[in-house]
Symmetry: C2
Subunit: 209 residues, 2 copies
C-alpha cells in the first residue's frame, strides 16, 4: 500500500517525514498542499488534520499527523533509524520540534515568504535570537560526533536537519557552524538523499519568488 | 529510589513532568533551578542538560530531559495515563511542545518576567497571534469531549494544560475558551492535583513580582 504524504517543498517539517520515508525505501508518494494558498485552513484539510498543519500521512485507514509521529511510525515498520538510546532519540525529536525546526520555520517564513514591507523586524529579531541559541546547542552537540545519537544515523539526525538545506536566508550560514556543516554533508551523502525541493512538490520559484 | 526533578514553579514545561509524577504516585522530589538567576546556562547545569533547559529528571544512573520524554518514562513505568491510541497521545505531545506550551511559555516570559520598559511589543504581538491560533485548535478539539484522547486522562491532557493554570497574563482568558475551561476543571479535580506553584518551588512573589 502506497502511503500518501500531504506536503509541500518549502516545509522543513514535511521534509523530515519525507526524507525518513525516502531513505527507508518506504512506499510513499507526495500530495501537494497549497500552503501559500491557505489550503491548510480549509474545511477539507481540517477534516484530515484539525491542527491545520502539514505533513499528514494517509496509509489505508491510518491517518497520522506531526512529522515526528510519522517518522516514528515509519521507523517502527522498517526498523531503520532507531539504533541507539530511544530516550536520546526522542529528546532530540522533541527539542527539534520546539527549538529547532519549530522556530526556524517561523523565522524563514517571516524573512522570505511575506512581502518585504510587511516583515515584522522586531519579531524577526526576537526569533532570530532564539534560532541562533538553538543552533549553538546543536553545534556544541555535534562537535566531535558524527551523528546526533550513538554511532549511526537515526531519526534525530533526520529531524534536526529539517530546515538546514534550504537556500533562503533565515540566520543560518553553514560556515558559522562547522560541526553542523560537516554533519549536513554526511546526511546528504546517504544513499537516496534528496534536497527538499527535489523530494517534494512546490518551491518558491513556482510562486515567482 | 527517589527521582529528582530539576524544576522551578514558573515553568509550565517542568509542571507537565511534575504533575505526571505527582498524579501517578511516583517517588520524586523537586530540585529548584534558579532559572531567573541564569542557572540553566552555567557549566554545572549544562553538564546534566546540554540543552540548557528545565526540567531534567535524575533517577539513579538515568538522566532524562525534555518534559515529554520524562512523562513517557514515568507513564511507561507506572502504566498510567497511556490508555488510548498511542499515536494520538504522541501527536498532542509534539503539538503541545511546539504550538502549545512552547509558545505560551515564551509569551508569558516576555509579558511578565522582563522589565515593562524592555518588553518587545511587536514580538509579543506576533507570539500572541500564534498562541491564540493554537488555543483555538485546542478549544475546537475539546468541544464535545472530556479528555484530549479517548475516554480518560492521558499524557496528552497533562501536557496541553502545562501553562494554563498560571495567573500571569499571556493572552489566555478561560472565559473565552469554554471547552478548555471545563477541561481544566476536570484535570484539577483529579485526586492529588496541585497548582504549579504548590507543586514546585519558586514563584514570582519570591522575586518581588
Amino acid at each position: 500500500m502506497t502511503a500518501q504524504l500531504y506536503c509541500f517543498g518549502e516545509s522543513g517539517n514535511a521534509y523530515k517525514a519525507a526524507l525518513t520515508m525516502e531513505l527507508s525505501g518506504y512506499d510513499w508518494e507526495p500530495v501537494w498542499v497549497d500552503f501559500f494558498g491557505g489550503a491548510q485552513r480549509k474545511p477539507e484539510f481540517l477534516a484530515i488534520n484539525e491542527m491545520g498543519e502539514a505533513p499528514v500521512m494517509v496509509e489505508g485507514d491510518l491517518t497520522l499527523t506531526q512529522s515526528s509521529v510519522i517518522m516514528l511510525h515509519v521507523a517502527g515498520k522498517t526498523g531503520k533509524f532507531l539504533d541507539g538510546d530511544r530516550n536520546e532519540i526522542l529528546r532530540w525529536l522533541f527539542w527539534d520540534g520546539q527549538k529547532g525546526t519549530g522556530q526556524q520555520g517561523a523565522l524563514r517564513f517571516l524573512m522570505n515568504f511575506i512581502p518585504a514591507e510587511k516583515r515584522p523586524q522586531e519579531a524577526i529579531g526576537f526569533l532570530n535570537g532564539r534560532v541562533q541559541a538553538a543552533l549553538k546547542t546543536l553545534e556544541a552537540h555535534l562537535a566531535g560526533r558524527s551523528w546526533m545519537v550513538g554511532e549511526t544515523t537515526t531519526l534525530a539526525d533526520l529531524a534536526c536537519c529539517g530546515y538546514l538545506y534550504y537556500p533562503e536566508p533565515f540566520g543560518f550560514d553553514r560556515k558559522d557552524f562547522p560541526a553542523i556543516d560537516a554533519w549536513l554533508d554526511r546526511i546528504a551523502a546517504l544513499p537516496g538523499w534528496k534536497h527538499p525541493y527535489d523530494l517534494m512538490p512546490g518551491r518558491p520559484s513556482d510562486r515567482g519568488l
